[in-house]
Every structure is written in C-alpha cells, then in structure tokens.
Symmetry: C2
Subunit: 228 residues, 2 copies
Amino acid sequence: MQVSLAELLKAFGIGAAAVTLGVEWVDWLARRLSLRRGARGPLKEVLFFPSPSACVEHLYAPAGALSCSCPLPHGVDTPFARLLGHLLSAGATLDLCVFSFSNASLSRAVLLLHSRGVAVRVITDREYMTIVGSQIGTLRRAGICVRHELSNAVHMHHKFVLVDGKKLLTGSLNWTVTAVQSNKENVLVTEDPDLVGPYQEEFCRLWEASDPTSQNQSDCHQGTAGSQ
Amino acid sequence: MQVSLAELLKAFGIGAAAVTLGVEWVDWLARRLSLRRGARGPLKEVLFFPSPSACVEHLYAPAGALSCSCPLPHGVDTPFARLLGHLLSAGATLDLCVFSFSNASLSRAVLLLHSRGVAVRVITDREYMTIVGSQIGTLRRAGICVRHELSNAVHMHHKFVLVDGKKLLTGSLNWTVTAVQSNKENVLVTEDPDLVGPYQEEFCRLWEASDPTSQNQSDCHQGTAGSQ
C-alpha cells in the first residue's frame, strides 16, 4: 500500500502535536513532583541568633485568641518566633536532644505540646540538667520523659530536635535565654529525609543507651516508653 | 477532504509512538539533571561523635607518602577522619567560625591548608581564644587571619566551616579534643547552595562586624583581607 505525501505530512503533523502534548504533560508532572530545579524539594531554612525581642504570645494561643497587650513589638517574624513555630507545629512526637535547657519560653512550648498529647522525649546532659534555672525538673514534674547520659565522663553536647520524626532543627543553639537573646548562634531546619534519618537514628541510639533500667525492650520510634 | 479510518489509525499509531519517545526523552533528561527522586542532588552527610581513635596521618601526607607506623588502627573510616578529609579538600578558601579551638590535629590541618596557599579566615570567641591549649595563638603566629567578637557581652558560639565557599560543615562540635573523642556531638555536611549560602553570608557579616579597624572596605568573598 502506497502512502501519499499528504498522508505523510498529516501523520507527522499529528505526531508533532502528540510529542508536544507528551512533553508538556511530563513537564507538568515533574513540577507536581517538585523535580524541577526551580522547586527545591523539602523545607530548608537557616535561623541566625541573637533574635530581636518580640511578642510570641500568639504562637502559644489557640487560633482566635485575644491579642496580647505586652509592650514588646508585635507581628515581627524573628528567628526565635520561627523556631517556636516549628516546635509548636508538632502533632505527634517531639524528640529533643539538648545540652542545656533553661529557657522558660521554650519550656512553655514543650509543656504545651505535652498537654496536647504530643509524645515528648528529652535527652540532656547529666551535669547541666541541675544548673540554676534548668527547666528539666519542671518538665519531669509535668510527666515528660527525660533521660541523660549515664556516664560522668562525657557531655551530651547535641542541640537538635525532631518534630514528628520529619523535621530536624540542629545547630549551635542551646535552649537558654543567653543563646537566644545574646549569642551568635545558628539553627538549620530541614525536612530532607537524608538528613532527618541519621539524627532520628542517633536519638534512638542515645535514648536506648540512656535507659537507667537497662531493660531496653521499647520500640524507640513509638515515643511512649521511657524513664522520668 | 475526507480522512479514511486507515489514515486515522496510521496517524494515531505514529502519534502514540511519538508520545512514547517524547516521554522517554524527558525521563532521560530528568535523570541526567538529577531531578528524579532516586538522585538526591548535592552532597549531604552526617557525622556523629565521639569518634573512635584511628591514625589519620595519611590525610596530611601528600599522595604516595610512606605509611605511618604509629600504634593506632590504620585505614579506619572514622567520623574524625571524614571531618579532616572534608577540611583538607579545600583548594581556595577555608572560612572557619568556631567558639573553641584547642584541637592540635585540626590546627595542623588548618596550618597545612595555609601553607598550601588556601586563604584561611577564622572567627572565634573573644573569651575562649585565650584558654589554656587554645590554638588561636599558633594560627596567628603562622600568619592566619583571626578575628573575634568586639563585644564582651556575647559569645560567638557558632561551630561551622565553609570549604571553598561550596561545602558547609555545621553542628554542635567545638574544635577540642574532648568534643572529638568523648562528647556526643554532630556535624552536618552539605553542598546544598540553599544551606551553604546563608552560612557564607553570616560569615561575611561577622567578619566585617569583627573588623577591629572598623575600616570595612574589603570584599568579604575574596578571603584575603583581615586583621591578625
């Protein structure tokens, strides 16, 4: 069967249109899946401190609560407000591994999450947990699981937190007022599973290694078992 | 002009083949550009400490140098060896921002880079730079630019380093022997420009803010000007 030139041109015309549509469709799909260079994938953010003082009352309050009348600036998007916002976004678990914890505003956030039913686990340094102003006692009295290094020889010097096992905040920032308001500090925030994963595993290793009962039968990922 | 069923089928056949080829081509292109989920993009790595003791002599030596006969284990890929390897990969610049620096092995690496012509800049804490064992004096005597916070009120508490302005190492690890060999610490390594960029800008901000001459005319990104 012979094919005329007109038929060939028609076929190529339809073919070209099909290729164009195909490419457009794959391009749309790539954008939807965040595979293009323009879409950078999972959340990543860097916060630098010291943070300017500003009211963060609205972050603790339920939606629609009355606005705060304190004298601090309101509606300012500070690094500390962003840090608090990330923490308070936890809906299921909060795994905190921090050397020094004496910041009452951060303690309030952790207590609020605990009261909401979020499974909170804290690993801290054996020596620094007893310094003046430490919030560890307050957390324990509220029923939050806190563990510390069993050895005297080392410091648990990490400063990272995992929100719902999916968001990592890590850096130089201890959870103290001086760190937030005075020091030069950094906190890197990421949801990249290639980075979140190793920190979650490290948390689990430390949690189990810091079990004072040494009856290490709990499933670390459940976030419910632990010493207080 | 009428189109027969045979012509229509032919046109659809060619169109379908064209779509398939188009999709395959875009898929291949996506893989080439590392846009698929399987290809994770730029380097990312997490190092946890304490690091087991092992010989790292080969990392300082030029290629082909004689092997070391020290009693430490050889050929072990420890977190500290990886940290050193990343630092010694610097070919042009090393921007170090670290609270406490007393680790002689890390000091040796920085001095080696300086001797190779790498432009090294160091920002450190005003108070901790004078503690016993601090390497800051050694670096300065070798001609390396070191600056510190001009204010007494705050600590420069960062622990990050930028290698050639493209690779970031950041975490909880101070550059001390205790941090490397005893403490629970972490260092996140990344070449993601979305993370490297903010830290490079922070380094430049601090470098300029710590200029004791306050004649802030240098181009921070050149890595050549600075006080000693």
